[in-house]
């Protein structure tokens, strides 16, 4: 008989993993299309949380409406980010410069710079401390299921994440925009020659990935009641680790790795101590890079 306490930790770990998965998908989509890492992605997560917070303190709408507006804010933030930090380095549209090393490194730095600017701007406006989240809108009502007690947030995070993942899968496999995203990530020049508007595809990829990240931000913010300008850093890194573990371009790989990561973290918190659980993600990353450079779910790539 397993102690119900561990089951409870398992549930917490899974919902943590689900939020990592939502963020990791943004990384994966953008990496697939542009071959670059978007360091400002964790700031999209923070923007999502703050947008939701402002909305809740101003109007106190039901959660579903908050989520929809946060989706829109996320899409808009992704659009702006792409225009400011990525577009200026895509002056030429041949394949060599679309996936070149110079483009990769300069966008890495420009997205890093954007992330500093966004975080510090939020600090200037809201202050760096934890924000007051109205108690009524927190999603932590306890629900007893047999011997274990979970909170409503676990169920909400799980169902929202499941719906979004399903929606993403449908979008990618059964719509024109999904088709063009897959085409560009497969071969940008080929996609361009067959009449796909690569620029618009890249923007929609950013919007899509940022929507996921922003929703994860507000869900976690309401789950823990902790919304502050630097909140995106840790989950951002962990989502990144999940993406690397999953093999960089594989969405199912990223989701499964994110769940593994979430569960291992909550188990580490239980068995070792909460301060050292941050080490789990970093060790996973180093071990993956050394032993499985192709990722656990092997998307093929040239050199790491």
């Amino acid at each position: 008989m397993i102690d119900p306490y561990y089951l409870q930790q398992l549930v917490i770990g899974l919902s943590l993993g689900m939020t990592y998965a939502l963020i990791a998908i943004g990384f994966t989509l953008i990496f697939g299309v542009l071959n670059v890492v978007n360091f400002a992605h964790s700031e999209i997560y923070t923007i999502g949380a703050f947008a939701g917070l402002v909305l809740i303190t101003a109007f106190a709408p039901p959660l579903a409406i908050v989520l929809f507006i946060v989706l829109a804010v996320g899409a808009f933030a992704g659009f702006g980010l792409e225009r400011l930090a990525f577009k200026p380095f895509r002056r030429f549209s041949d394949e060599a410069s679309l996936k070149s090393r110079a483009m990769r490194e300069s966008t890495l730095m420009s997205s890093l710079a954007m992330s500093i600017i966004v975080r510090e701007a939020l600090t200037l406006v809201f202050g760096s401390q934890f924000q007051q989240v109205p108690l009524a809108s927190l999603i932590n009502q306890p629900i007893a299921i047999g011997p274990i007690t979970i909170v409503s947030g676990d169920i909400i995070i799980f169902s929202v994440a499941a719906v979004m993942l399903g929606g993403l899968q449908y979008l990618l496999k059964h719509t024109r925009i999904g088709l063009s995203i897959r085409a560009v990530s497969d071969n940008p020049t080929g996609a361009k020659y067959s009449g796909i508007n690569t620029d618009r595809t890249i923007i929609s990829t950013f919007a899509l990935g940022s929507m996921m990240g922003a929703v994860a931000g507000i869900l976690v913010g309401l789950y823990y009641g902790a919304i502050f300008p630097a909140m995106g850093f840790e989950p951002g890194i962990k989502a990144f680790v999940a993406m690397v573990m999953g093999g960089l371009v594989s969405i199912p790989g990223a989701v499964i790795s994110a769940l593994i990561l979430g569960v291992s973290e909550s188990m580490a918190t239980t068995f070792v101590s909460s301060v050292w659980s941050g080490m789990v993600a970093y060790s996973f990353l180093i071990l993956t890079l050394i032993f499985f450079p192709q990722g656990l779910f092997g998307g093929g790539r040239e050199r790491v």
Binding site: L108, A113, S115, I117, E120, L124, V244, W276, Y282
Partner: protein, 334 residues
């Protein structure tokens, strides 16, 4: 004027500014704040120069330099507190400690390239930061460490603030000179080959992994020296001084100054330390300034204020004979 003396003149001007003009300014105003600011600027100039070795010259994007800065600071502080090791011994030991940690973590990760390397260094930096923060038995955790002794040489205490400034300035300038000589040698050329195309360098017979581990350790050594200087001059260190934001600050200095240029890295450091302080009256815009400067430089001056290429062109036009001289098929700097 012959070009050798012109070159000497540049060096003389630099030395005069650091050792005469700045101390005169400091002594004239005689405020603790200015002393702190000037030593901070010198320490960050050294840090930027140390990152310049890895990121600028060797082209490896390193996102965890602050961690080695922290290792140096903690080694110096712990030696001073627990074993009463004097400054003249603690300083090199701090550098060596940081270099040893760097070799240890570099051995498994050095085979990675580009973004994977960057992320691995980020993870390593965060791991070291977490150890500093959470190993309370050794590092006192978030409370930080207070040093009992200041800077002293063989029993002679240079306790006065102006003395501290001079000691830091001499050490930093000497380190900068060593870094300058290191990058303008065959070793430096091998590093540049690594940056331009590591596979090609490998094919030409350069042992890229050994070279990378080596330069990573050298860079960590200088970062450790900077950390020890920070620990000795402030007398108090805590893990917050060595977090990810500081790694990014150092990287921003190198990027703003221009990747691959040592004067650029130093100018970037001075700019990003002194400019926000000068604007302090307007409001606390320090960190947002760092981000904005970095962004604007990347978009509008991608080579930085003194990028490698422009710096090379500059030196070639100024010291053309030094470049061509020697003959006999020798390529590059003497």
């Amino acid at each position: 004027m012959s070009e050798l003396s012109r070159r000497n003149l540049t060096w003389l001007c630099l030395l005069a500014i650091v050792f005469v003009v700045a101390p005169a300014f400091l002594a004239y105003f005689d405020q603790g704040y200015f002393y702190q600011l000037s030593t901070l600027a010198l320490i960050f100039a050294l840090l930027a120069a140390s990152l310049h070795l890895v990121t600028g010259v060797s082209g490896l994007l390193h996102l965890g330099q602050a961690a080695f800065y922290g290792v140096g600071a903690y080694v110096a502080a712990l030696l001073s507190i627990n074993y009463e090791v004097p400054f003249s011994v603690g300083l090199p030991l701090a550098g060596l400690g940081a270099a040893a940690v760097a070799v240890l973590v570099a051995l498994p990760t050095m085979r990675l390239v580009s973004i994977y390397f960057a992320v691995a260094t980020l993870a390593i930096g965060q791991m070291i930061y977490l150890v500093l923060l959470n190993w309370v038995g050794l590092t006192e955790g978030p409370n930080g460490l207070v040093l009992s002794s200041g800077i002293e040489f063989f029993g002679y205490d240079v306790g006065a603030r102006i003395g501290t400034y001079f000691v830091v300035a001499v050490i930093v300038l000497f380190s900068l000179w060593v870094i300058h000589r290191l990058t303008h040698s065959y070793y430096g050329n091998a590093l540049r080959a690594l940056r331009e195309d590591d596979q090609c360098a490998d094919a030409m017979g350069i042992d890229t992994v050994r070279l990378k581990v080596g330069i990573f350790a050298v860079s960590a050594f200088f970062a450790g020296i900077a950390g020890a200087l920070w620990a000795y001059t402030t007398g108090y260190i805590s893990p917050g001084d060595f977090n990810f934001a500081n790694s990014i600050l150092i990287l921003a200095m190198v990027v703003v100054g221009g990747l691959g240029s040592l004067p650029g890295a130093v100018i970037g450091a001075l700019l990003l330390i002194l400019l926000p302080e000068a604007l302090r009256g307007v409001g606390d815009f320090r960190n947002i300034m760092v981000g904005l400067t970095m962004f604007l430089v990347i978009v509008f001056v991608p080579k930085g204020l003194m990028g490698e290429v422009s710096a090379l062109a500059f030196f070639r036009s100024r010291f053309a004979s030094a470049w061509q001289g020697g003959g006999g098929g020798k390529v590059g700097w003497r």
